[in-house]
Symmetry: C2
């Protein structure tokens, strides 16, 4: 099973219980205040940005998610001392978005109806954070060129079009690459231009193409890394 | 419950089933080849280094662990496609070490005897990776001075002595700080000297003291971060 199939199955398992559907307007930010009882969010239509906030208003973009994505808002270490109603992960609605919402009470009902679901959600949370660990590791340990390629490989694996091998079927803005790398748009533009010139990537109408997947994977050392969770 | 209490409880839950005890010699490296069936390792005596390996032999130190630590070697996303017997996390024995080992078969027996244990181990894995995410995030997003302080705060919370508030009861070598930050020993020495001069830390016999905990927490923005998992 691939991660994408695995995620799809989990969503199916939850949707069969008909959670409520809610609409959110572009620009809304779903924080812990408005979202105190919401525990699971499944995107049905639209686009959201999932980001991590630090002190000093520094923002670190973790991903832009559209249909078929699930976000677990229930931090499973809530039973540990130390944090009080604290949220470090934020969601901003980028386009008018419709989501299925599982709130605290509905989740309890789900767990009663499907005894395996608690474990499945816990497992997904664990895989999600492993995934995030590898994502942020690449950004930290790679050069900026390799960090950009690492993001693009992830995007390709998540949104890749099987018919046209190297095509990433998802608009990727330099602005968002910069926010994902804690870098600036200018630096990213320069790096993207260099990678284009070197023949690793090409861009048509804001869509990236990976020109030489094998060479990129060799450069990043993908063969000794965990492809199973190399997704957004 | 604190993370340390939580970890202690999990260890107690596993040890009551009397897993086998094994001795390892200083210098041994426990990789997937020798450790193919081992799933859980609980350190009873000695010291190990837990590190992450990248391509190009780059090593990233995640922690030095002694008695009372548990490492889950069972990667719970093993059912996902993409990786074949791949290990990105390594363990090196730093001092002669005795561990309790739960292997694949024993784990199955545990799960049969204690139905809640599977969930507990899954939950610990999830918390462990969340913890790791925050650890590596600090290193990426902070300046090197703040990254060093962030490591020391973690060490203080893990090994802090409650009687002497700011004392970290654990030897910390600049060499290991460097490996944890993907930096050099020279840079770390310079940063440590600067932090000493500025009055944030002091060092006696390779033991660090945090001189002004409140000021350090303010500088790092700890109040808006997750203290519950700020441990090694």
């Amino acid at each position: 099973m691939t991660f994408l199939e695995y995620r799809k199955n989990l969503i199916k398992d939850i949707l069969k219980f008909n959670p409520q559907r809610k609409e959110y307007k572009k620009g809304e930010i779903l924080t812990d205040i408005s979202f105190s009882t919401e525990k699971i969010l499944i995107i049905d239509k639209g686009l959201i940005r999932y980001y991590h906030n630090l002190c000093e208003e520094k923002e670190f973009l973790l991903g832009c998610y559209s249909k078929g994505n699930i976000i677990i808002l229930d931090r499973i270490s809530d039973f540990l001392d130390g944090d009080k109603y604290l949220e470090n992960f934020y969601i901003e609605v980028c386009e008018d978005t419709t989501c299925y919402i599982v709130d605290k009470n509905f989740l309890k009902i789900l767990y009663m109806k499907d005894i395996d679901l608690h474990e499945k959600i816990l497992e997904y949370t664990s895989i999600f954070y492993q995934k995030l660990f590898f994502q942020i590791r690449d950004i930290k340990l790679f050069s900026i060129e390799n960090a950009v390629l690492s993001l693009l490989i992830r995007a390709y694996r998540t949104y890749g079009n099987n018919n046209e091998n190297s095509f990433i079927n998802h608009k990727i803005l330099n602005k968002n690459i910069a926010k994902s790398l804690n870098s600036t748009e200018e630096t990213v533009s320069r790096v993207v231009a260099k990678l284009k010139k070197e023949g690793f990537i090409s861009i048509k109408k804001k869509h990236f193409f990976l020109q030489n997947l094998e060479e990129i994977e060799k450069r990043l050392g993908c063969k000794s890394c965990r492809k199973s969770i190399c997704y957004f």
